[in-house]
């Protein structure tokens, strides 16, 4: 699972009000190189929760993203390629292969096997 997906995913248990962001417990992280596409990153930038992304990237062992969210104008202008490259690496190239996602409110663990998070809920959680 890539961090772009993690950034979209929230806990779905009934009664949980802020199930986002899910904490990441990483056991195995892999990197897969894919083509760099600045247009896609610019398109997605507005939708990304920066703080959650930085935290998740840290727990996968990648700490090069700036703490504060960069300005939208910086992303829009083609000037800062290095920042976009970092964003690209964090969002699309880091894969959480084995580990778990933890709901911040209830502490419920969603295991991640072979890169697939198991988001199935038990019957009493629906």
């Amino acid at each position: 699972m890539r961090l772009i997906t993690h950034n979209m995913l929230s806990c779905n248990i009934k009664g949980v009000t802020n199930g986002f962001p899910l904490k990441v417990e990483a056991e195995k992280v892999i990197e897969k190189e894919i083509d760099f596409n600045p247009d896609f990153l610019r398109h997605m930038f507005a939708k990304i929760e920066w703080k959650a992304l930085v935290e998740a990237a840290c727990s996968l062992g990648y700490a090069e993203l700036p703490e504060d969210s960069p300005d939208a104008t910086v992303i829009e202008s083609a000037a800062d390629e290095s920042l976009l490259k970092k964003l690209h690496h964090a969002l699309l190239e880091l894969h959480l292969e084995e580990g778990a996602l933890v709901c911040p409110e209830t502490g419920r663990k969603f295991p991640v096997n072979k890169g697939i998070p198991n988001m199935l809920l038990h019957e009493d959680e629906v």
Binding site: I4, M8, S10, D39, H43, K47, L120, E123
Partner: protein, 286 residues
């Protein structure tokens, strides 16, 4: 359709390891899936500016439909309830991310982040109650509600469906409308029972003015007046009064028989040629 997988077992059990492998190694199914997903991407009406969009593939299975999305240059997340199917997808090294989840429990995605969704032959599974806790109405509501939340404004979702009957189709349609979507149904090849494909297109926000019409058999030679109605068939006017059948003592008449034979021919069935004996009554001595 007599052997519906929906009637055999719940999806997470029906698509076990062997079924998942069978499904993906059948070149026929692979081809059908690719065609269907290609067709489902058309009504999504994604802007053609070469910027990849972030799509959702609901019931992605082994990632056959996801491959078509990747070929179209889009990014995607796949959702499925069958772990075996997802394992096959991992082996095939699909490009999108995969999630093991039950769409009837809601999707659990943040609001407004997804640019569009497609789903190939999946949503009709929600009409089944496989466990005592399942209630199709609630599950459809949870699904459409969470989908409506996670789609961005103006985004569309396209579902290719195989509803078992009209009641199922209306149940799905009603729940989608209640979630806030506006939408319409597109039928490809509405006359043929085998080739007919049904797409439910939903949109966050009001109906657009340019609705696309279903694909049609190019080889059929109908007169023009019929052609216009061919593409899209509205199912909602089911209260239309039934046509009175014109029958008298002589039966329905030669014209009726000829018309029925013509209809059957258009569907591609083997029909005997018309002759002077067509629709002629047997002699009374029989």
């Amino acid at each position: 359709m007599s052997n519906r997988p929906e009637l055999i077992a719940p999806p997470e059990i029906f698509y076990n390891d062997s079924e998942a492998r069978k499904y993906t190694s059948s070149s026929r199914i692979v081809e059908i899936q690719a065609k269907l997903s290609e067709r489902a991407l058309e009504p999504l009406a994604l802007p053609k500016d070469d910027v990849p969009r972030f799509l959702l593939d609901i019931g992605c299975g082994s990632g056959l439909s996801g491959e078509t999305i990747s070929e179209n240059g889009q990014q995607w997340i796949g959702f499925d309830i069958s772990a075996s199917m997802l394992n096959v997808a991992v082996e095939r090294e699909v490009e999108g991310d995969l999630l093991l989840g039950d769409m009837g429990q809601g999707l659990g995605l943040r609001a407004g982040v997804i640019d569009g969704a497609i789903s190939i032959s999946a949503v009709q599974w929600l009409c089944n109650a496989d466990k005592s806790s399942h209630e199709p109405r609630w599950r459809l509501k949870a699904f459409f509600g969470s989908l409506y939340r996670c789609l961005s404004r103006g985004a569309r979702a396209v579902f290719q469906l195989y509803p078992e009957n009209i009641a199922q189709r209306e149940l799905i349609f009603d729940q989608a409308m209640q979630a806030g979507f506006s939408g319409w149904l597109v039928f490809d090849y509405p006359r043929s029972t085998k080739k007919r494909k049904e797409f439910l297109v939903l949109r966050c926000g009001p109906l657009p003015t340019n609705i696309d019409y279903g694909h049609n058999d190019s080889c059929s030679d109908d007169d023009d007046s019929e052609d216009e109605e061919d593409g899209m068939v509205c199912v909602l006017d089911r209260n239309r009064p039934r046509k009175k059948q014109r029958t008298n003592k002589k039966g329905k008449g030669r014209e009726w028989v000829l018309r029925k034979k013509e209809q059957s021919r258009r569907k591609g069935n083997d029909v005997p040629a018309d002759s002077k004996y067509t629709a002629r009554k047997r002699k009374s001595r029989f």
